[in-house]
């Protein structure tokens, strides 16, 4: 299927498209990464006794 699509395009266009799709995927994955990491931080802080920024930064690995 992809092969049929590729025959309409030159190699440079194909490579560029895949690179840019990679950037899209990377940005989207990074967004997920920050959401999941932040969720873990929220859980960690809620379970700990540390509440102010200095205590949290010093005692919990963010």
């Amino acid at each position: 299927m992809l092969h049929n699509l590729y025959k309409h395009l030159n190699i440079l266009e194909v490579v560029m498209t895949w690179i840019l799709l990679g950037v899209v995927a990377l940005a989207y994955a990074s967004t997920w990464y920050f959401v999941l990491r932040s969720r873990n931080i929220i859980e960690k802080i809620s379970k700990s006794e540390y509440k102010n920024s200095r205590d949290i930064v010093n005692n919990l690995k963010l």
């Binding site: 560029m16 967004t31 969720r39």
Partner: protein, 762 residues
């Protein structure tokens, strides 16, 4: 038993809360999806190309998550109902606080105009499919404007009546919008599988290179704001410290995922148009999105999108009118705008604020084309979010120790800094798309600045002065001012002894300041009730001043001692603050103590810290032998000046400059480093001792036994690095039995960045 009761009470309170994580997330997602995506997607594909829209959405999502993290951190710590304005005001106060509110007001009103136009465009587009409407042969440009004004007037009227926005109904609306868009996205995937040749619509991937993508990012940014509405629900949320930051972040990921699917579907839908897909979108503008979905799903696609757009735009219009009126109401209540704007009608609506917000909505909707309206809203939101990203750094630096956080972002402060830079780039690039939007945004800001200097500054200042309960000026005002914050214990008497000596030698003035720590929300009457005992402390300290120097006294209120001290240092142009330290702290994570750490980090003046010991000025004995351990740091010059001022004027007085050479450096080279300090001494009797040793602390402690007093300058520091006096200095000060004085010079412009993000201005 008591504990059980408390638990039961908490449970009862929690039961009265209604909004759970899912409802909060949907509330934010609904506000974000608003109507921006319906108008902006088509235009943005025209600018960026078919693949460019995916790139723009994904990258905007990343920038949005950065700002969402800032918001989540702020909302978790400060439950404020004023949104972005409340946080920027909290961080900066003054002009920046006012301008952020001023911009927030405009941004929300302009977004309201955009939603009114979106409603109008989509409604007319739907009507355009009926024969009777075509027969009317209306001028569509004028018709769009008239209908936009009508719908705006209807919702202005509804807002005047005072509509209560309920959490449950907004959740249902938001869920409806999101599900509709996700269905469209899902249809796009189905079509791509069934007709893979449609994937060729993504060739060429970009239309106008990188610039097109960046412009599209700026243009669609309005669809990535709105998550801040979750923060307003603090009082109705279940477990808000946990759920509000989570919901903000989840809302962003739900919206980014939805947009990516919708963007994909919009591109896949186009078939056989005889031109490039991006060019087709560029030609169809705002309603191109609806037309492409119609091609994707011929049975009902148009109806589905149009109804979703109408639904979204009306609910978003209602919400933005509601919010913009409340932002202008809040600015007025803070004294920045005339009090009439904070008048509340019988129906408990800020009617005057709503009136002015409505005028902005109508004027912008009538005067500007839709692209410019969207771009103006984008620029304003980008600028406000930039301020939020600075505020999150500043609030964590200045108030982080006092606030209770439910969430702290990782990679601090790099994430808000990165977001700030990216948002600035996008805002600037929008100039290319719409100079008119930049002109109107700039005009609004300039009017805001004029308004600040003509009205707000003086009126807000009157309110700010209430934080000072009594200020008794010295009769003879001097240029050099030494401040002693008066505490309840006996250490204040010790500090006054040293401070008066410095003020006397340097022909300065002594400022005795008592900070009453009282919560922000306490009334003036409550503060006054506590005034007398606080004033007593100042009077006692004033009586202990023996030298003939001008003394001014200040009794001020603040929610924390540190902030009160720093605010008063700034307000009273203090040159040096004298603080006391007992030599240890029990508070984990602090170097010298909660208040001391904060003042040392942020005070905009020279700092002198005294740890009283067996000998020294306060014991009444003359100070004849002073030891000054130094490596030649820039703070040592201040330490030298203090040492000279404290040294007794007798024949056997001696100041020892002491250096422990740990690196085996040549003595001549060490002397070269110490030369500026030696020069500063002038004719003062002094000697220089350089000792080769690996144990700095031990050597200095040993040497200190032969002296009355130790004075140490802080080590040199980097511009951004937060550092108090360094581990070695603090160990010496802590372990030495003699009086120890630590000196830190105000680094002025060099530490400007740290000062700016790390202290609170008025």
């Amino acid at each position: 038993m008591k504990e059980n009761n408390a638990k039961n009470n908490n449970k009862n309170q929690e039961l009265s809360r209604e909004l759970g994580l899912f409802q909060l997330t949907m509330m934010g997602a609904g506000m974000m999806i608003g109507a921006g995506v319906f108008v902006a997607t088509g235009i943005a594909i025209g600018k960026a190309g078919t693949g460019g829209i995916l790139l723009a959405f994904a990258l905007n999502g990343l920038i949005a998550i950065f700002t969402a993290m800032s918001f989540a951190e702020l909302c978790s710590a400060i439950p404020a109902a004023g949104g972005a304005y409340a946080y920027v005001k909290k961080a900066f106060g003054g002009m920046i606080g006012f301008i952020s509110g001023w911009m927030n007001w405009f941004a929300l009103a302009v977004a309201g105009s955009l939603y009114a136009i979106t409603f109008s465009e989509y409604t007319l587009h739907l009507l355009g499919s009926f024969e009777f409407f075509k027969a009317l042969n209306l001028n569509m440009h004028i018709a769009v404007k008239i209908l936009a004004v009508i719908i705006a007037l209807i919702f202005i009227g509804i807002n005047y009546k005072g509509v209560k926005d309920t959490g449950k109904s907004s959740t249902i609306i938001a869920l409806g919008q999101t599900v509709t868009l996700l269905i469209i996205g899902f249809l796009g995937v189905v079509v791509a599988i069934r007709k893979p040749e449609q994937l060729l619509n993504f060739q060429p991937f970009l239309r106008d290179g990188r610039a097109g993508v960046l412009i599209a990012m700026g243009f669609t940014y309005v669809g990535f704001e709105g998550f801040e509405v979750i923060g307003h629900a603090g009082e109705e949320a279940i477990d808000p410290k946990k759920n509000i930051p989570k919901a903000i972040l989840y809302a962003v990921i739900v919206v980014v995922s939805t947009y990516l699917m919708v963007g994909f579907a919009a591109v896949i839908g186009i078939a056989n148009q005889g031109m490039g897909v991006a060019e087709w979108f560029a030609m169809h503008g705002t309603t191109g999105f609806a037309d492409s979905i119609q091609m994707l799903f011929p049975i009902g696609g148009m109806l589905l999108v149009t109804l979703a757009a109408i639904f979204s735009s009306t609910s978003a219009l209602n919400a933005t009118l509601f919010s913009s009126a409340r932002v202008s109401f809040a600015i007025s209540r803070d004294g920045f705008l005339p009090p009439s704007l904070s008048k509340i009608s019988k129906r408990k609506v800020p009617s005057v604020a709503l009136f002015f917000s409505s005028i902005i909505v109508l004027v912008v909707a009538i005067l500007l084309p839709v692209e410019d309206v969207a771009a103006a809203a984008d620029i304003m939101f980008l600028l406000i979010f930039m301020l939020i990203n600075i505020s999150v750094i500043r609030i964590r630096k200045t108030m982080g120790d006092e606030l209770h956080y439910g969430y702290l972002m990782p990679f601090f402060p790099w994430i808000p800094i990165l977001a700030l830079i990216l948002q600035l780039v996008l805002a600037i690039l929008l100039f290319e798309l719409s100079p008119a939007a930049w002109v109107s945004a700039s005009l609004w800001i300039v009017v805001g600045i004029i308004m600040y200097f003509v009205y707000s500054k003086s009126h807000a200042k009157k309110r700010a002065q209430k934080s000072i309960l009594e200020y008794s000026k010295a009769v003879d005002k001097r240029k050099y001012r030494v401040m002693v914050p008066i505490r309840s214990g006996g250490i204040s008497q010790v500090l006054v002894k040293y401070a008066e000596r410095l003020a006397w030698v340097w022909h300065g003035e002594l400022q005795l300041t008592r900070i009453m720590t009282i919560p922000n929300y306490a009334t003036d009457d409550e503060a006054q009730a506590r005034f007398a005992p606080n004033k007593e402390h100042v009077t006692k300290a004033q009586k202990s001043v023996n030298m003939d120097i001008p003394v001014s006294t200040i009794v001020a209120r603040s929610d924390t001692a540190a902030r009160g001290i720093v605010d008063n240092i700034r307000d009273h142009q203090t040159n040096m603050v004298v603080l006391g330290w007992k030599g240890y702290t029990r508070k984990q994570g602090y170097e010298m103590g909660n208040t001391l750490d904060r003042v040392i980090e942020t005070a905009p003046c020279n700092i002198m810290i005294i740890k009283p010991g067996d000998e020294g000025l306060h014991t009444g004995k003359p100070t004849r032998k002073i030891l000054m351990p130094t490596t030649g740091s820039q703070h040592s010059l201040l330490a030298t000046r203090i040492a000279i001022s404290l040294l007794d004027d007798s024949e056997d007085s001696m100041l020892t400059i002491f250096n422990v050479n740990t690196t085996g450096e040549a003595k001549q080279s060490v002397m070269r480093r110490l030369q500026p300090i030696i020069n500063e001494m002038g004719n003062i009797p002094m000697k220089v001792t350089i000792i080769d040793s690996q144990d700095v602390v031990e050597e200095i402690l040993k040497e200190s036994n032969k002296h009355d007093l130790l004075i140490i300058g802080a080590p040199n520091e980097g511009t951004l690095k937060t550092m108090l006096f360094g581990q070695v200095t603090e160990r010496i000060a802590s372990e030495c039995k003699k009086t120890v004085i630590l000196a830190k010079k105000d680094m002025g412009v060099r530490s400007w960045i740290r000062r700016w993000i790390g202290s609170r201005s008025k």
